[in-house]
Amino acid sequence: MRKMIEGSRAVAEAVALCRPDVISAYPITPQTHIVEELSQIVADGELDAEYVLVESEHSAASVCLGAVAAGSRAYSATTSQGMLLMVEVLYNIAGMRLPMVITGVNRAISAPLNIWNDQQDTMAVRDTGWLQLYAEDNQECLDMHLQAYKISEDDRVLLPVMVCMDGFILTHTYESVDMPTQEQVDAFLPRYNPLYKLDPADPYTLGGYIGPEKYHEVRYTIHRDCLAAKEVVKEVARDFRAAFGRWAGDVIEAYQCDDAEVVFVAMGSVVGTLKEWVDRRRAAGEKVGVVKLRCYRPFPAEELVAALSRARRVIVLEKAVSMGGYGIVAAELRAALHGQANVPVTCAVAGLGGRDVTMGTVDEMYDRARAGEADFFADLRAEVLQES
């Protein structure tokens, strides 16, 4: 059913359709509308779930960990400082191979305090063993949540999934979305049936310590299975099309790339801006395109190489930065292209702390990249730099 709703509401309804048994979250802007809506859905008796109101994000993630270990489906949502407070638990959930879904609302990190959008928070947890999917719009975000549980709980994966959505830009924006029915979701996503759980009838010890003789291999298997999960992401995308009658995407989406000489790569809502920019430049006869990196973990290196190897230049628009290092996606992309294709990759950091990425910003990136600049912050304002 199509309806015009806020992104947060769309996510809350999609999560409810997945029938989580246990929800635990701690309020933090701009994640709040999601957890408020879910609270209301539970309060209205529309979802039979235990909603555990905790004293911190660390505990929210830990409650979910316990619930999944006990054999239930769990959900949480957080952003920014909350995501950072969770980090230790995020590693633990992935390390213990406990499937669950968290909505990672994308927001800037302190200091300075800033509640607006960028992607520094979820990029900071990219090494945890969680799969990460980045949504361009609210329909995609809704669809990703349905896919996320199916991917996470697949016996070949058994790793948690983070659905990343840009704070305010998606969470607080009303868009028309196609909301599936409970019957459709039930048919697509069966009840969670864990291989192992905490059960007195069949007692397991979970989370014991392991010395140097085996730890190395255990961590390798997490990495190996995270990489291999790429095929499950694709398979679930096909299942999704069969179940809901629309293609919601798998690991990347190439837009106008077939003959493109300059291709942007980006994640999240800014891809919509880039598509608009590409349309305008194409109308003026320029061969430009954009690749949406939909699944960032596992990193779809082969798919990116295939999509980008014919380009003359690639520009990665990054809403995060590795301080003292530079662009994170650009670095990984350069590594993926190494020995495969001789395409220069420019890293353009933009949009930190909610700074608008406008057509003008994209023009600047395009011009500077074509002039040969490798790494830069776009839209740096001289008067502000002088002040600070």
Binding site: D21, V22, S24, D48, A49, E50, V52, L53, V54, E55, S56, H58, S59, A60, S62, V63, C64, L65, G66, A67, V68, A69, A70, G71, S72, A74, E88, V89, N92, M96, L198, D199, P200, P203, Y204, T205, L206, G207, G208, Y209, I210, G211, K214
Partner: protein, 300 residues
């Protein structure tokens, strides 16, 4: 002497063969507690001695489902397990327990514990209190008693060791208004058993703190754990008190021996046993015991 082999049932929960130190007060207390709890339980355990000595992969001393996540989140993990069992309709048949040492409970896990108590989860939280970070080598915790020497609060020419009083977590737990809080000691098995039974009879959040002497951490002979634990209780430094709904309902009466009898058998207080300054510190510790005796009416 009988040579009949000593057999343990799997249902005892906590099995022999683990790697605890000889004389470990915690291992003895855990065994007693698990005998009372029985097989129908799930344990969420903090990082610490108990976790390390009972679960070196691929070994496990646990005959019941057991999970270790992190150092400070066992109360939250137990909350999640409880919520899942509630949703599954199994909370009537399965008891949820959370275990932490004094560091994992009183210091780093304090926020998560307070959250669990305030939310009223049907969980029995047990703090095994050996009064320092023993797993990492006897560093000072919030539960380290006044004037004890640890590796991070060492006695020295300019210091008599820990300079702050022990954090009173049972009273803080009781202030949450939860149905049951109790302090027990590994040296009083019958009392410990009764308190675990009492806690399991009550639905809601329960906090039990068990004093567990530590031979290497406190510095006494391994065979003396029971005796050292007794001295702590009988001098008034470790009052065995029970609270229900925030009110003190029972205390274990003591013999009231001088605190020096307890202090002098441990290396961590050895620096107090010489000179006038040491005597003055012992007098301060006696004042702590006397205040406990008065506050809880430990002596008739």
């Amino acid at each position: 002497m009988s040579t009949q082999p000593f057999t343990y049932e799997l249902s005892r929960g906590f099995l022999p063969g683990h790697r605890a130190c000889a004389g470990c007060g915690q291992a003895s207390a855990v065994r007693v507690v698990m005998e009372v709890v029985g097989p129908q339980c799930i344990v969420a355990n903090a990082t610490g001695c108990l976790e390390v000595f009972s679960t070196p992969h691929p070994e496990s001393a646990w005959g019941v489902p057991w999970v270790h996540s992190l150092f400070e989140n066992q109360a939250a993990v137990a909350s999640g397990i409880e919520a899942a069992l509630r949703k599954q309709g199994k909370l009537d048949q399965i008891r949820v327990l959370a275990f932490g040492g004094d560091g994992g409970t009183i210091d780093i896990g304090f926020g998560a514990l307070s959250g669990m108590l305030e939310r009223g989860h049907d969980v029995l939280y047990i703090c095994w209190d050996n009064e320092a970070y023993m797993n990492t080598g006897v560093q000072r915790s919030g539960a380290t008693p006044f004037a004890a020497s640890t590796t991070t609060s060492p006695a020295g020419r300019a210091s008599f060791g820990e300079d702050r009083p022990k954090k009173d977590l049972p009273a803080i737990a009781a202030a949450h208004g939860i149905p049951y809080v109790a302090v027990a000691s590994m040296s009083y098995f019958a009392d410990l058993r009764r308190k675990v039974k009492r806690a399991l009879d009550i639905r809601g959040a329960k906090y039990l703190q068990v004093h567990v002497p530590c031979p290497p951490g406190w510095g006494y002979d391994e065979k003396d754990s029971m005796e050292v634990g007794r001295l702590a209780v009988e001098c008034g430094l470790y009052p065995l008190v029970e609270w229900e709904n925030g009110e003190v309902v029972r205390v274990r009466k003591i013999k009231k021996i001088p605190v020096e009898d307890y202090l002098k058998v441990q290396r961590r207080f050895r620096h107090l046993m010489r000179g006038e300054a040491g005597k003055a510190k012992i007098a301060e510790i006696q004042a702590v015991a006397d205040a406990n005796i008065k506050k809880y009416g430990l002596v008739d």
